[in-house]
């Protein structure tokens, strides 16, 4: 009897010691907390709703088993490498304000003790939030902020899946070049002097300012005459001065970088003052949101926008179509560049966690720097996700790519976005010149 008791005591003690010394994470952290900071109110609230839905859908797929989706994360419920731990998203609203964003990041890190952060859409907010993450050594993945600056700061805790504005703006000038060379589907070669004059109007925060710099850079490289570059207050309620200033420059090509409410205001004001150009292009963001499309209505036909995803992609990628159907069932809208990239951002988190096999920051960091997600896993038409670890850009996905879409009416009279660039995947003839009003 005494021997058995002693044996039992030793056994109990061993179990106790084991329980106390082994870190909790090994016992399958029941949940992985990811802080998601998006603009849920304010001028970009419409985009914020899409972003949120995209991330939520990705988390849903990751946390449940969906055998019919050809995606690694759909095969398992939760993160397999962490014992099936489920991903919990904690959403916070930064209202478009970088200081608010930074405060929220601090709270998420210190009080909610999140394992990582996803966000923030506005490049200006991403800038401050990532600085907070860098300070505290918390990994952050960014899905849709495109200011080139963000991956040029040498930060070690920041990874960005989306390609950035330098590439996107170059795409635009390639399109213009292609127009003069007759490479654009459905348009005979245009004389360069007909589209020589360019003017731009961008919102004045981090994002718009850098888009303006990129436009200046490429206008010089491709030898276009950049007559005017305007920056306007992102919360402006009246753009008639700006619009008339654009008119004074008499541009053939007008370029914009606007969020939702200013994009709507800009187009409406242009129409009211009867100003137009042969080519009107928006650097995604506001130009892509459902609210913009609904409000501007038929006047939108012919407007070009940089985008990363449009519904036509589903004709090319079956997986995209499947997920898009789920997204549409959830929100009533098709995937857009914002929601698709938010989805991809969270998906990248799942892959990184799987690879890391732990929630320790150093492990996540190593996994992110080494990861390679093949294009077949993604809903966006990229070659994949792989982050650069050397050179002057760290943490930037080098396998992404952009598209340029044009709003057109299909044979049923419905408004759709057709791909006009890259030229080899164009889905329709490009409308040139712009003529909606």
């Amino acid at each position: 009897m005494k021997g058995m008791m002693r044996f039992g005591l030793v056994w109990v003690t061993l179990v106790a010691i084991f329980g106390l010394t082994v870190p909790a994470e090994v016992f399958a952290a029941e949940e992985i907390k990811i802080g998601v900071i998006y603009p849920l109110t304010g001028g970009a609230a419409a985009a914020g709703r899409e972003l949120r839905a995209g991330a939520e859908l990705a988390a849903e797929i990751a946390n449940n088993v969906m055998a019919d989706l050809p995606m690694t994360m759909a095969k398992n419920g939760g993160v397999k490498a962490l014992g099936g731990a489920k991903i919990t998203l904690i959403f916070k609203d930064h209202e478009g304000n970088p200081t608010v964003g930074a405060d929220l990041a601090k709270k998420l890190i210190l009080d909610d003790k999140v394992h990582g952060i996803l966000g923030c859409y506005h490049s200006s907010v991403t800038k401050t939030v990532s600085a907070v993450c860098e300070q505290y050594g918390v990994p952050m993945i960014n899905g849709s902020s495109t200011s080139p600056d963000l991956t040029q700061r040498g930060f070690k805790w920041f990874w960005r899946t989306t390609p950035h504005d330098k590439w996107f703006t170059k795409d635009l000038f390639e399109l213009l070049k292609g127009l003069t060379e007759g490479k654009v589907k459905g348009v005979k070669a245009v004389q360069k002097k007909d589209i020589q004059n360019v003017a731009s109007a961008c919102e004045n925060t981090e994002w718009g300012s850098l888009v303006t710099e990129m436009i200046k850079l490429f206008a010089e490289e491709y030898k276009y005459n950049l007559r005017k570059t305007l920056l306007y207050a992102d919360k402006a309620t009246d753009l008639s001065n700006e619009v008339r200033s654009l008119k004074a420059a008499r541009p053939d090509v007008m370029l914009f970088a606007s969020y939702t409410s200013d994009a709507i205001l800009m187009i409406k004001t242009l129409k009211a003052e009867k100003i137009k150009a042969k080519i009107i292009w928006g650097q995604d963001a506001g130009f892509e949101t459902p609210e913009f499309q609904k409000t501007v209505g038929d006047d939108i036909v012919g407007i070009l926008t940089r985008t990363v995803f449009l519904p036509k992609v589903v004709e090319v990628k079956k997986l995209a179509g499947q997920v898009n159907a789920m997204y549409k069932a959830k929100t009533g809208n098709d995937f857009s560049g914002a929601s698709a990239r938010s989805f991809t951002g969270l998906q990248t988190w799942v892959h990184v966690l799987e690879k890391a096999g732990s929630t320790k920051p150093a492990d996540i960091q190593a996994a992110a720097n080494a990861i390679q997600i093949p294009g077949s896993e993604l809903v966006v038409p990229w070659a994949g996700v792989k982050f650069s670890t050397t050179g002057d850009e760290i943490g930037q996905n080098v396998l992404g790519s952009g598209l340029i879409g044009q709003y057109q009416k299909d044979k049923d009279g419905k408004l759709v976005l057709e791909i006009v660039y890259p030229f080899d995947v164009a889905t329709a003839n490009m409308i040139y010149p712009f003529a909606a009003w």
């Binding site: 109110t41 609230a45 920056l231 001065n241 200033s245």
Partner: protein, 304 residues
């Protein structure tokens, strides 16, 4: 050339509406010497009123003016009876900060009720239409109508102040409230009336502006400052002063347009690089400062 004419046209049209915006402020100031920092917020209320009425009834936004006028009148009287009346007893510091409190209150109430995103008028018989008045100048129909109706409203208030018994009583209180009281004119009621008329005129201006300007809860401050500049230039308390000063300020807001005119007439690239449009409101503040230092009486004012 069309740049110049376009800017002048835009400036004058906008100026007429701004004159109406400032009218309320100058009346309130004239009658009781208090500066209403929440003036821009009243405008914002007018804009939302116009928007909501149009959406709810399907009326064209231009016809929402009577509703806006009534709402503004009531709002003005309510603010006076419920709050301003008590402020008048205190020192000026308290008055200033009190109306600031009112400004924050109205602004955040609007934020709570309407949310922070911009709203604009999308439908209406005038929306989206423009007139080409020759020489390449395009005038949006909404702005033209707004300017015209502003002038009408302005004239109506001026007639009220000068040709009716009540208006004369108001003017009397403005000139010398003690003497007016001895003559049997009740100061309290006159004050409330001033707030009512002041509030009503600015909300009507708001209902007009919402046709071509987006509204969000934060835009009040800009208009408060514009109204101050107009009233300073025209003279605190002068109704005709407000009109002419309004036109001048409207033109000041077109400085970027004039700058563009010079840029492209002389084709100097350095001028194009100056971000004039970003500074378009700054000139108003500069104008206010310069006027107050150089000629505090304004053009027509009788109060210092």
């Amino acid at each position: 050339m069309d740049i110049l004419l376009g800017s002048i046209a835009a400036g004058i049209l906008l100026g007429m509406v701004i004159a109406l915006v400032a009218l309320g402020l100058t009346i309130i100031f004239g009658v009781m010497d208090i500066v209403n920092f929440a003036h821009g917020e009243f405008l914002m209320v007018g804009m939302y009123t116009g928007l909501l009425t149009a959406q709810a009834t399907g009326m064209d936004p231009i016809f929402t003016l009577p509703v806006a006028a009534v709402v503004g009148f009531l709002l003005g009287v309510l603010c006076y009876m419920g709050f301003i009346k008590f402020l008048l007893r205190g020192p000026m510091v308290a008055q200033l900060l009190g109306t600031f409190g009112l400004m924050l209150f109205l602004r955040n109430l609007a934020l709570l009720i309407f949310g922070s995103s911009d709203k604009t008028v999308h439908h209406g018989i005038l929306v989206g239409k423009s007139f080409d008045i020759g020489m390449g100048v395009i005038v949006p129909a909404t702005k033209l109508a707004a300017a015209g109706l502003s002038v009408v409203a302005f004239a109506a208030v001026w007639l009220l102040m000068n040709r009716t018994k009540i208006g004369k009583a108001l003017t009397a209180t403005a000139l010398n409230s003690q003497a007016a009281r001895y003559m049997g004119i009740p100061t309290g009621k006159m004050n409330a009336l001033a707030w009512g008329i002041g509030g009503g005129s600015v909300t009507v201006a708001g209902a007009l502006i919402v046709n071509f300007w987006a509204v969000n809860p934060f835009m009040g401050l800009l208009f408060t400052m514009i109204a101050f500049a107009v009233v300073a230039l025209g003279g605190f308390g002068s109704v005709p002063g407000a009109f002419f000063a309004g036109l001048v300020v409207g033109l000041i807001m077109e400085i970027p347009g004039f700058w563009d005119f010079f840029t492209y007439t002389f084709d100097w690239q350095w001028m194009a690089d100056v971000p004039m449009t970003s500074l378009k409101y700054m000139w108003i503040y500069v104008a206010y400062f310069v006027i107050m230092v150089v000629r505090p009486r304004g053009l027509f004012g009788w109060k210092q």
